[in-house]
């Protein structure tokens, strides 16, 4: 159910199109609950403030050399995709945060799944209430 992710994952070869930004937290970001297999996952847009906060929170996380993200059927974690800037995708799952930037991928420890819970709570009122309750129970969010 879990997959070991090496710190030096595949280097993402993405052509630099000049879209870089020094304030990547301000770039539009869409979050999704990584839940389904067939249907598209429930998703919501992070506000500029939430996106900036996510970037700040990631910067404070301790880097790790390897970790296990959740795989298989059912709730797996939360994915945030950046639509511009250097930050391409953030996967928060099972106490591990995998950050894919243009040209490099890093992993960090999400101790006690604090970042995952915070990120999840930004979905309140923005996704289906039954889904929110389901994942809230899984994450122990009141």
């Amino acid at each position: 159910m879990r997959r070991i992710v090496g710190i030096v994952l595949v280097l993402l070869i993405v052509a630099c199109g000049g879209a870089g930004t020094s304030q990547e937290g301000a770039a539009p970001m869409r979050a999704e609950i990584d839940l389904y297999s067939g249907r598209p996952n429930p998703n919501w847009d992070l506000s500029a403030e939430e996106a900036a906060q996510l970037t700040t929170r990631i910067e404070r996380l301790p880097p790790i050399s390897s970790g296990e993200i959740q795989e298989g059927l059912g709730y797996r974690g939360i994915i945030v995709a950046g639509s511009s800037g250097e930050l391409r995708r953030v996967t928060v799952s099972n106490g591990v945060v995998v950050v894919e930037r243009t040209g490099r991928t890093e992993a960090f420890a999400d101790t006690d799944r604090e970042l995952e819970r915070w990120l999840f709570q930004t979905s309140k009122g923005r996704i289906d209430a039954a889904i929110y309750e389901l994942v809230a129970n899984e994450l122990g969010v009141p």
């Binding site: 990584d34 839940l35 389904y36 297999s37 067939g38 795989e71 298989g72 059927l73 039954a130 889904i131």
Partner: protein, 312 residues
């Protein structure tokens, strides 16, 4: 220089070409010598007719010494390949035909090294990686899974149908993040990469209206799938054996597909995550009807996909 011979024909001379692009030669040979499990000394003894492999020979002693390549190597492909990487290497070598030279010892009946030969061999690699087998009624749904069926099954006379089983090749779906993220379980089961997160029925313009066994089944049948034992003709190959399950809720409502592969187990791809052959308990999937499927508790049945399947 590297001489490559396609071990494909039985009666006429096999096509042979000489690759002169030194950089490409070294790159391919490095791949071959890096993983010796991919190569053999000769064709597998059980190899029958069809494209069995490539005979690779260095025409330079310097190259042979640097890369520890003595004599010739045999790269088994298709049904005899060690894994999907062997077929990838074979495709790479065949794709060099356009810029290759004929061997000086070419036989009079040798085919010209042209685009049609290249296309023929590439097609052979693809089709030989599949195995055609008979899907027999004895492999019907186990009783405990049959009790879970939530579909009004159309009754088909138990028939033996020809189907194809492709080699388990998760790297095709997993190695590129864009491919992994934009293809789901329906893409994987259909073995058709659309990068659209395909939905049953969307290709036919008749998408499901609810996520229930009958409704997702209806949508998939509209795309061209058939229920198991409602045979497709050989012209519809590849005809993969797939299975549909549903998570009925409350709360968690979704569908999921599995596909049987040549190795005998089943593969699946949970959403935008990696393709795998393990269930939710980490066990190799022997049968999707009985494996641990997490919240996908309803087993809807087995189906066949087909060449003409509409998928979007």
């Amino acid at each position: 220089m590297l001489q490559v011979t396609a071990d494909v024909f039985s009666g006429r001379s096999n096509p042979t070409w000489v690759v002169t692009n030194e950089r490409e030669v070294r790159a391919v040979l490095r791949e071959v010598t890096r993983d010796r499990a991919l190569v053999a000394e000769a064709a597998p003894p059980e190899a029958g007719l069809g494209f069995r492999g490539l005979i690779v020979e260095s025409l330079s002693d310097e190259l042979a010494t640097n890369l520890d390549l003595q004599g010739s190597l045999y790269l088994p492909i298709g049904a005899y390949a060690a894994d999907g990487r062997a077929n990838e290497l074979a495709e790479r070598l065949v794709s060099l035909i356009g810029q290759a030279e004929p061997t000086v010892a070419a036989e009079p009946d040798a085919l010209p090294l042209d685009q049609s030969l290249q296309d023929f061999l590439l097609d052979q690699i693809t089709t030989s990686a599949r195995q055609s087998v008979l899907d027999e009624p004895s492999l019907v749904i186990p009783a405990e899974a049959e009790a879970e069926l939530d579909v009004e099954e159309e009754s088909f006379v138990a028939a033996t149908c020809g189907i194809e089983l492709a080699q388990y090749n998760p790297g095709f779906w997993n190695n590129n993040t864009t491919i992994r993220y934009n293809n789901n379980c329906y893409n994987y089961a259909s073995n058709k990469r659309t990068n659209t997160f395909a939905q049953p029925g969307r290709g036919a313009g008749s998408m499901y209206r609810a996520i229930t066994c009958p409704e997702v089944t209806r949508a998939a049948l509209a795309d061209g799938l058939r229920r198991r034992f409602n045979c497709f003709p050989a012209a519809e190959a590849p005809r993969y054996l797939v299975a549909l399950v549903v998570a009925p809720g409350p709360g968690f409502v979704d569908y999921h597909w599995y596909r049987k592969v040549r190795e005998g187990f089943w593969g699946h791809k949970p959403g935008g995550t990696a393709a795998r052959n393990l269930d939710n308990r980490g066990r190799i999937i022997e049968d999707p009807a009985t494996c641990d499927r997490g919240p996908y508790t309803q087993f809807c049945g087995y189906f066949y996909t087909c060449r003409s399947q509409r998928i979007r």
